[in-house]
Amino acid sequence: MSHRVMSGAGFETVVSAHHGEIFRYLQRVIGRADDADDLSQETFLRAYRAYHSLPGDANVRAWLFSIATNLAKNHFRGESRRRQAYSEVRASSREAVTVAPEAELLSRETSALVEGIVGRLPLKQRLAFTQRKVHGLDYEAIGRSLGCSPESARAHVFQAVRKIRQGLDGHGLLPEEPQR
């Protein structure tokens, strides 16, 4: 099996290519920019420690998401932090709305609404949903990051999408029930 040579130069490109999206991922699932910052750094520090023993044909991106996901899960251990995180997610969504320019307000409102719902999803659904629908990872990778099968990963995503649809009902954003 071929491995990566231990070198800063090789890892440089990994950081360049993925730091932004790992930061975004963590910010979305955690809600607090400060924590996302800390955890994204921790993700890459851990990755660097193990990078040299990563098989040459490994999917680096999925691997980074998996490290970040584990860190996010650890972050939420403990009920009080979880509760805090939910309210923070909602707070940061509102923040986003206030800075939006006039013309984008409607779509911003929709996003805020969606984000509010995502923020209230159970953690596994939120992690799976974000990996799938925001970052486009496949179920295989998502399952691995969550320690479950690809089928369970898909079930988490589907649950999340169903909840979002339910949550948007009655906001005039979805095709309505026909009037009787």
């Binding site: 990566r4 800063g8 950081v15 730091h19 023993s53 996003s111 999408v161 095709p175 029930e177």
Partner: protein
């Protein structure tokens, strides 16, 4: 309990998969057929399509650039620090016992005889402040193979990039660099190294520096001996290993009066600074200031080091008979 018909419940997952564009061909066709006859599911499908459309907005939402750049900058700093401190190690079972090899991104930084078992906990690295150890992922495979070839006598050079940062001082680094230049099959007294680094009086300091050589074997401190020819010490109290390494290189050793040493009369010699090597009885040596001599196990070794036979004692015509 849902009040949906069984047919609708059955395709619920496929319907959602199809709306998200993830359904396989036959499932998608099945859903399509169902939608032509079921208005409720059609609405549901359109609802999911609309949701899926909104989700693309999530993908595009930017993180404030300053925040991201700050985080990246902080990460680079911490990574640079980690890079400096991180060593990958591997423990190699060898004829000389378990040997730990460690490397940084700059090169091999430690070769260590493990006395207390084959565990990294026995390594001095586990007490080295600021060092972060990770298990080797394969990059030490070549080095450990070469080390074993060397110890089996099938290789005379270990051409590894070295990282001397575990050296304790600049003086030690200088001594190590001078020692690294001693050819295979040659020995030199501590005093010779001291002279070589421009500190002729610092023989004891040289011995101390080599006692803590972080890279034994590859920096061949086993080729540095006492002025009397005694092997003196090696890596603490492993003078037996020193003898084995020297024997491997063809350096004759013997125990005299309970002391392990080289057999000086069986080795060719070089006066410091000369370009010619001699037999140890060469008359030209008697006429010169006493100085620490380099000794060679064979003419081949001396000539491989770029030396010519002395024109006085003619070792090429009168080689040492053993």
């Amino acid at each position: 309990m849902s009040d949906k018909p069984a047919a609708c419940l059955q395709i619920a997952d496929d319907l959602l998969a199809a709306a998200l564009g993830e359904a396989g061909q036959s499932a998608a066709q099945h859903v399509e057929r169902h939608l032509t006859i079921c208005a409720t599911c059609r609405r549901e499908f359109q609802g999911y399509r609309a949701v899926d459309g909104m989700l693309t907005a999530l993908q595009e939402e930017p993180v404030p650039g300053g925040r991201l750049a700050q985080s990246r900058e902080r990460l680079e700093t911490r990574l640079a620090d980690l890079r400096k401190r991180m060593l990958a190690y591997r423990i190699v079972p060898s004829p000389l016992g378990h040997i730990l090899i460690a490397r940084s991104e700059l090169g091999i930084s430690l070769v260590e005889y493990l006395d207390r078992g084959a565990s990294v906990r026995a390594s001095r690295l586990s007490h080295e402040p600021g060092v972060e150890l990770v298990e080797d992922g394969g990059e030490l495979e070549a080095a450990s193979r070469e080390l074993l070839e060397y110890l089996a006598g099938r290789r005379t050079r270990l051409e590894w990039p070295l990282d001397l940062r575990l050296a304790r001082s600049d003086f030690q680094r200088t001594v190590l660099q001078a020692t690294a230049a001693i050819p295979y099959g040659a020995v030199i007294p501590y005093a010779g190294i001291a002279q070589g680094v421009g500190k002729a009086a610092a023989t004891r300091a040289v011995a101390q520096a080599l006692r803590w050589n972080p890279l034994p074997i590859v920096i061949p401190c086993h080729r540095v001996i006492g002025s009397s020819g005694a092997l003196t010490g090696y890596a603490g109290s492993k003078v037996g290993l020193k003898q084995r390494l020297l024997s491997l290189e063809g350096v004759p050793t013997a125990k005299r009066a309970g002391v392990l040493g080289i057999a000086p009369q069986a080795m060719y010699v070089l006066y410091p600074g000369d370009r010619e090597y001699c037999v140890p009885t060469c008359p030209s040596l008697d006429t010169r200031e006493p100085s620490p001599l380099v000794r060679f196990a064979s003419r081949d070794v001396a000539e491989a080091a770029g030396l010519a036979p002395c024109t006085t004692c003619r070792p090429d015509l009168h080689p040492i008979s053993r």
